[in-house]
């Protein structure tokens, strides 16, 4: 339905923009105070995090003193404890992570609490009473077939057809990359050399390929600042760029939360996987990672 939405966006904005008028503002009563919980389990990670926040316009956004419990397939329960906001949200210059929500974390463990293919339950007891519950099944384990090493080199101006084995239970594979020095490499006169984050998608458990980097950056092609960079990357990376690439098999709950599936003029609608006195997501991911450098000659193995 992406095509439909694109058509709608273009045609509707053209037509409505031509003759539609903005209605006058009406002040509203405060909206409902709703707790939003975002919990993504990551297979293989030593520590798991939960991020709780509240709906806007109701006062403080934090949710302190919640009790967050994760129950594994063997019945063992892991407690989340309050953690610094920076553990859940990157800091910004205009806000402190601890003001936009409350972060909770499990105790770091040598062996990850979360295993691919296993089913977990989550229960969040809210400070004012009420609770949220949900279940997730972590996508099955998979491995990268190409590249098959954790660090490799890619010749500048070439594309890398990535491939991996199938993850049982995956709804999509989400590929993320962070490119460093790409702006300067493309334009030596560029004043801004911040890293570029791009996302690629492989839909369904069977779609186990993606081409790096040309098929990344789907959601930034309408961004007039990044579109020229993405266009230049259609043929490969320039010399000197480094990249970290993560391919993650994502479960139903994660996908339903992030894909924003239905139309409402007031904003995005996300499909929850936590039920009860609030809303939120309890999703799971099974990731695989590698690092890549765009160089012609290097002791690194080729990707």
């Amino acid at each position: 339905m992406l095509a439909t939405r694109l058509v709608i966006a273009l045609v509707a904005s053209a037509a409505i923009g031509t003759v539609g008028c903005r209605l006058e503002e009406v002040a509203l009563a405060p909206p409902e105070d709703v707790v939003v919980a975002e919990v993504f389990l990551q297979a293989g990670e030593a520590q798991q995090f939960a991020f709780l926040h509240r709906s806007l316009g109701t006062g403080a956004l934090t949710v302190p003193n919640a009790v967050v419990e994760l129950t594994g397939p063997d019945g063992r329960v892991a407690q989340y404890s309050p953690a610094a906001g920076i553990e859940c949200v990157n800091a910004g210059s205009s806000f402190l992570p601890d003001t936009v929500g409350s972060c909770y974390a499990t105790t770091p463990a040598v062996r990850s609490l979360v295993s691919p293919g296993a089913t977990y339950s989550l229960r969040i007891r809210l400070p004012g009473g009420g609770q949220l519950t949900g279940t997730t099944t972590v996508p099955g384990a998979f491995r990268l077939k190409r590249p098959s090493v954790a660090q490799c080199k890619l010749a500048p101006g070439t594309l890398l057809p990535m491939e991996w084995t199938r993850s049982v239970g995956a709804w999509v594979y989400l590929s993320e990359t962070r490119l460093a020095h790409v702006r300067k490499a493309l334009d030596p006169n560029a004043t801004n050399d911040r890293s570029l984050d791009m996302t690629g998608l492989s839909i369904s458990a069977e779609d186990t390929t993606i081409v790096f980097p040309s098929e990344f950056g789907l959601f930034d092609r309408f961004n007039d600042k990044d579109a020229p960079v993405l266009l230049a990357l259609q043929k490969g990376l320039p010399e000197g760029v480094t990249a970290t690439v993560t391919v993650s098999a994502a479960d139903r709950n994660y996908v339903q939360w992030v894909r924003r599936g239905t139309f409402n003029p007031s904003g995005t609608v996300q499909i929850p996987s936590l039920q009860g006195d609030g809303t939120g997501v309890f999703g799971s991911l099974a990731p695989a990672r590698f690092d890549l450098t765009s160089v012609a000659t290097s002791p690194l193995p080729p990707c």
């Binding site: 095509a3 709804w171 993560t246």
Partner: protein, 818 residues
Amino acid sequence: MARGGAWRGGWAKFRDMGSRVWKAFAVAVVAGLLPTGAAAQAGALTGVVRDTSGAPVVAALVTAERVAGGGAAGGPAARAGVPTPPASGGGPARRTAEADSAGRWRLAGLAPGEYRLRVERLGYRPAERTVTLAAGGVQQVDFALVAAALDIAPVSVEVARERQRFSADAGATSRRLAGSDIKRVPGLAEADVIRAVQVLPGVITTSDFSSAFHVRGGSADENLILLDGFPVYNPFHLGGLFGVFNSDMVSGAELLAGGFPASYGGRVSSVLNVESDPGAAGAGVQGAGGVSLLASRLALGADLPTGLARAAGLRSARGRVSFRRSYFDALLKPVADFPYHLTDVQGFFEGWTPGGGRFTLTGYTGGDVLDFSHPSSESFPLKLRMDWGNDMLGARWTGGAGPGRMLDLRAGYSRFGAAIRFPEFADTRFESRISQATAQASMKVDARPWLALEGGVGGDRMAYRSLATTGGTDFRNDGDAGWLASGYAQAQWRVPGWLLDTGVRADGWFPGSAPGRWLVSPRLGLKRFLAGGDAALNLSFGRYTQVVQSARDEEVPIGIDVWQLAGDRVPPVLSKQVQAGVESFRPAGWHLALEGFDRRFQGVIGFNAAADPNDARQEFVAGSGRSYGADVLVKRERGSVTGWISASWLRATRTFPDVLSGIDPAPSITYAPIFDRRLDFEGVLRFPLPGRVEAGVHASYGSGLPYTRPIAAYEIFEYNVGTGRRSRPDSPRDSAETAILLGPRNSVRYPAYVRLDASLRKTIRKRWGLLSPYIDVLNVTNRKNVLFYFYEYNRNPPTRTGVSMFPLLPSVGVEATF
């Protein structure tokens, strides 16, 4: 498909009711095939209307009026004890028939006696004759009409045609719009057939920005839109802002809002027949055109030279073709880069064979182009080209096939396609296409003076393709093709005072992706004439099916249909419908109609926002629906002030799995769909002003449409798997991206929709023809009808803003005919 208990109970009752109806239907069919004493005494008048060259005159109206003392009540039928009504009694004293495409007409079920026959056709001098019909007899009466100047008011002919439908059909709810009506309904920049349909009772639209219409609680994709009998899939430009048909090429349009006979299949809600205008015969080269703020258009028509026609095996022939192109792109250039244009080319050819057969060829091609692919389109961040449009070509032959038999053959092809291409990103393509090739044959037989039979068979090849691919992944890549085999039989049984239509239709759908199945659709219509045939009570039942649906989200006011065939992903739509009403034509030119209806729908689809990408069959969810209500029409077509007022009351619901709940399996919810406009009033008035100026007013009131109100909003944090952390824009909160939490679906309503449009049209007679400058003003009161509300909970205090529909929107244009 899960449903609530109340719904199951309701459906069971309906099913039981349906069972009784079908039993009654079977009895009626049998009864219809058996002559009764009353029917055996009824006679028929039949004949052919030709012009002086011998060519059939299509759509001539033949009116038979009983002559007082002509043996009605005291005639042989009465003496035989047959309940033949008096002239003012239960049977129609005046009956009208329309000549078909071979000029043939027939009036059956007439009591014996003396009749005065009158034949009228625009462009010809009326002809009259008096005949005497014997009991049980069939009398042939042919007419030869003489061409005349266009002095007959076209509207009176349309009234007669509407009346003819009233007399000839038992069950169908037919509303006609003449070409002149269409041009007099104030439109957006220029006359629009599809927009004009929206002022009819039972028809609603959800926004000014879309011409897509809903009939009696049906979805927009449940309307069969035909151009000369051939389907056009998406007859809209700019996502629905304009219709595709050139008003200069249209002689009229007929909306069958319900109860349509078994000869129509393919859609469950309504049939809109748009008829091409071949122009007047023998008038040399004729033209019509117009210049508006939207587009310029020109239609040219002429008779084929006699020698050329004869060389082609035709007695005579004529053709007409029109062109239209918009100039938004040029007009807006100084203020905005909006490289959009639309084009339409529409053609119609009509020829008569020496044997009296009629051959027609209808063609349409048109499209929209939004082209941001040029280097000059600097204001747009991404280069793209988007084009969409229809192509249609249809050929039809109608002619006699022996005494009392009429054969209709047609073959055609129709397609709709939309595509978006990105010159800079070759891996990204969006396409949606549907096509339909059709071949049909039907035969009408005057079996008895009181019985007319019709049957037909058809074969269609339908195919669709949907593709959405980007970044090496297919968001959607599916298609299917199938054969549709159809057949129908219908019988019309007429005795004085009664008309019974019975029919059954069978559609066999054999898609490539699923096993084939037969869908059987019985139809029944019953009409009891009153007041000498000027009024009637009617009742009809029917089952309707369709195997193609649009996946368009109807909650979005502007959009393009993405068509989908029934198969492994989508079920066919099945609908059972009942309607009953009363209709009356009054002597002073008044036409009154009141009709109630109840409709049930199964197999309607919605987009599944929670679909598992591993299972393509989950892309849509199937649901059910119900609508009931009533429509009232008060129409006046004679006198200095003409027009109509319609009132529609509707209750519509849809029941679907609540995929947004996140619960697996999704529970069912029942809600009012976006087109559940409970009350709708439309008024169209036309009246003359001094100086050969005609004024038109269109007033519209619609109760508020439902929408889903957000109850809260929260900030969206982008989660990065690599870092395990979220990020948010380093910006003030009121510009952060937010997600919303929704209240119960469509549980609140926008304010009522009110709009007043006005038009002034002056007709200036020139040596070469007519010139008609016009002014249309939409939304004269500049009322801000709500299109959307935006709930902005990220602001302090939270606010509600929104976007309105059309503001006061004046436009000018000029039309010319020569």
